[in-house]
Amino acid sequence: MSAAPKLRSVDLSLAHEHGLTTEEYQVILDHLGRTPTFEELGVFSVMWSEHCSYKSSRVHLGRLPQTGPAVLQGPGENAGAVDIGGGMAAIFKIESHNHPSYIEPYQGATTGVGGILRDIFTMGARPVANLNSLRFGNADHEKTPFLLKGVVAGVGGYGNSVGVATVGGEVCFDPGYKGNILVNAFTLGVVRADRIFRAAAKGDGNPVLYVGSKTGRDGIHGASLLASSEFKDESEQMKPTVQVGDPFTENLLIEACLEVLAGDDVVAIQDMGAAGLTSSSVEMASRGEVGIVLDLDRIPLREASLTPYEMLLSESQERMVLVVKKGREQVVEEIFTRWGLDCVVVGSITGSGRFVATYRGETVVSIPVAALTDAAPKYERPIQAPTTRPAPLDLSGLAEPGDLTAALVALLASPSLCSRSWVYQQYDCYVGANTVVGPGGDAAVVRVRETGGALAMTVDCNSRYVALDPYLGTQHAVLEAARNVWVTGARPLAISDCLNFGSPEKPEVMWQFSRAIDGMRDACLALDIAVISGNVSFYNDTQGVSIPPTPTVALVGLVEDAARTAKVALPGAGAAIYLLGEGRPELEGSEYLIQRFGVTGDHPPKVDMAAERRAGELCCGLIADGVVSCAHDVADGGLAVAMAEMCLAGAVGMRVAVPVDGRADAALFGESGARILVAAAAAAAQQVEQRAAAEGVPCRRLGESGGTRLVIAAAASGDVLIDGSIEELQSGWRSTLAAIAEGRYVAPRPTR
C-alpha cells in the first residue's frame, strides 16, 4: 500500500511486541477482514492500550456517581464541568504522569502539567488554578532528592511560565513509591456555562485543522509501552524519545484557542495527548459518530524523515486538532497566525464512519472508528482479596513517650508533616490575581470575579489508610478532601479522581481497585457529590512490587461570597478555640505510630460519614455567615499537630485543655476523623455553641489563643501534656523539606 519503506511486516509476533494479546489480534483481523497495515497495527495498539481504552477499569468506573444537580458535564469529555452559579461553570480534571516523571523528572512533570492544562482550555475555559499531588520514595532514599527537585522544578517551570497559578497540592514520602513515583496534576478553569466546548466532530466535509508545535519523534508508544528490540536495531533514531514541554508555545495556544473559541467557527476541538493525532482524531470522530480522513503529507514536521507510523503515534506536546465550519478556516488560521502558531488543514470529516489516513497518495490506515473505540476490549479481571493481613495493634508493647512535647516536635519535623513551603515557594501562586487563600493552608481558594464567589480546591489521599483498607481508606480520602474544603467556608461540589494502582493483571490489585471504587462511591453518595472526571493509572509496579494503592481525590467546593472564607492562621490573641466533632481513643493508621514505632495496626481510623458531614457543614455555615474566619481540620498528626499548625501559621500561641480517655498520646496524635478546630472572636463564641447545639454537632471549648507557646493540658486532671514555644515547634518543621531536597535528611529510627 504505502510507498514508504515498511519497517516490519505485520504478524502475530509483531502484534505481541505492540502489547496486543493473541485474542486481541484475532479480533482486529475479524474487524478488518484482512491483515492490518503496519500503521493500523500501531493505531490499534495505542487505542486499545490500557491508557486509552480503560479496558481493565471500565467495568468498575460505572459504579461511581456521575450526575447531580450541579453537574454540567460528567466523565467522557476532556474534563468535567460543574455549575458555580451566576451562569458560570468550573471545568476541572486530574491526571497522572507517573512513568515519564520517574525517567526524566523535570520534563515528565512539565509535560504532565501541560497536558492537563490542554484538557481544560479545549473545553473553552481559561485555566485559573493548578494543583499537584506528588509521591516519592522514603525521604532518605538515594534517588529522592533528584526526583523531588526535578519534579518540583518541572511543575513550577511549566506552570509559572505558562502563567497559571499553582495554588496547592500534596507531597508524600513512602518507601512504597521508591521505584515508581507518582505525579498527578490538576487544573481548574472557569467558563461561561453556555460556552462550554465539547469535542464531538460533526459535519461532512468540515475541515480538520492541526494547530501548535510541529510533530517530532517524541514519546512514540509512550502510552502503550513499546517492547520492540527490532526498533533499536533498525536505527538508533527509532527509539521512543522523551517529551519536552514548551510552556511558551502553550501560553500562546491558550490565548489563541480561547480567542478562536469565543467566536462561532469551531465545531470541535481536542488536544493531542497520549497517542497524539490518532487518539484525538478518533475520539472526536467517535463522539460525533462520523468518519475522519487525514492527509499525513500535510502534518507539520520537526524532522522530514518521520514515517507515517510515527506521525500517527507521536506524542509531541502543545498540539491541538480542530474541526472548523467549512469556509471558516481562514478566520481561524488568521488568529493562530497572529499568535505565531502553525495552523494547517490536515483533513476533513466524512460520513464514512472510518478513520482514514493517506500518505503520498496511498491509504495507510482505514479502520471503522467504532472498532477502535466501542469495540475496544473490556475485561473483567479476576479479583482476589489478599490472604495476609497486617497485625492488629498491640499497644501494650508501645511505651508512651515521657516527653510529649519532644514527640510533637519530632512529628512536626517529619517528612510527612513538615512545612511544604520549600515546594510551593517555587510556584507562582499570585498570577491571575484571584488567589484568596494560597498554599500553606487546607484547601486553596480562588475568586471568580464574574460571580463574586470563589472556588475551594484540594487534593488528598492518605495511601497508608488505603493500603490498610482500600474501601475505608478511599472514603477517608474523599472525606479529608471535603473537610479541607469545608474549613475554608466552601460547600463540596464534585470530585475528579486519579486512581494510581499496580498491575491490573494481579487479582489483589484489582481487589484494591474495586474496593476503592466502592469506597469512593459511598463517600460521594453520603456527601451528595459526583465524580465528574478522572484518570486511571495502572501498572505502577517495579520488579513485580506494586505501589501502595493511591486513589488521589481532587475536590472542588463553592464559596458563595469570596469575602467570607477562613484560614488556618490564628487571628491573634483572645480567640476562643473550639473543637467541632469528637474523637475516639484510636491510634491505628496514624503518622505518629509509623514515625515513632514503625507499626500501623490493621485498619485505618473509623469512618462516620454522617458525623463528618454534620461537622463540616456546621463549620462551612459558620464561615459563610461571618461567625468565624479561622478553621483547620484535624488530619495526619492528630489534634496536637493541627493546633501547632494553627499557631505556626499565625505566629500566635494557644492554651488549651483536651479530653483524654486512656493514653494521652492517642488523644493528642490519634487521627479520628470528623473533627475541626475553629477559633472564634469572644463576641462570636456564643453563636458557635448555639449553632453547634442546634445542628447536633459535639462542640467543646478547649481554650484560648494568645502568647507565644502552645500549651496543651489534659482536661480532667489539668496535667500539662505539651508546652512548647513557637520557635521550638517550627525548628525542624521549617527545614526538613530543604534537607530532603539537598540529600541531607537522616531519618530517625523508630523506637520500640
Binding site: 525517567i103 526524566e104 520534563q107 508545535s213 517530532g216 519523534r217 517524541d218 533514531q237 524519545t241 522523551v242 517529551q243 519536552v244 514548551d246 511558551f248 508555545t249 520537526r302 524532522e303 509531541s316 506536546q317
Partner: protein
C-alpha cells in the same frame, strides 16, 4: 598537572529544543535570514588536576554520564587542554 576542560552538552537531535527554536525565530526577525537552525546547549568549563590526558578524559567522561549530561535527552562531548598556569 592542571587541565582546562570544556564540556558541551546539547539536546539530542530528535528532542524538541524550544530554546533553540526561539533563538532561530528571533534571529530571523532581526533580519538574519541566513540562519537555518539554532540549537541551545550548555557549556561547562572545568578546571581540574590529573595525572595525564587519558586519566582526565576517563574521569570527565564519568562526570558527564553521572551528572553533567542527562543522556535521556542530551548528548555530550568534551575537549581537554593543558592549563597554561
Amino acid at each position: 598537572m592542571n587541565f582546562q576542560v570544556r564540556v558541551f552538552v546539547t539536546p539530542k537531535p530528535s528532542i524538541l529544543d524550544p530554546q533553540g527554536k526561539a533563538v532561530a525565530n528571533s534571529l530571523h526577525s532581526l533580519g538574519y535570514d541566513e540562519v537555518v537552525e539554532a540549537r541551545l546547549g550548555k557549556l561547562i568549563e572545568l578546571r581540574l588536576g590529573g595525572a595525564d590526558r587519558e586519566a582526565v578524559s576517563a574521569r570527565v567522561d564519568e562526570m558527564c554520564r553521572r551528572l553533567l549530561a542527562n543522556q535521556i535527552i542530551e548528548d555530550y562531548r568534551f575537549e581537554i587542554e593543558e592549563a597554561r598556569s
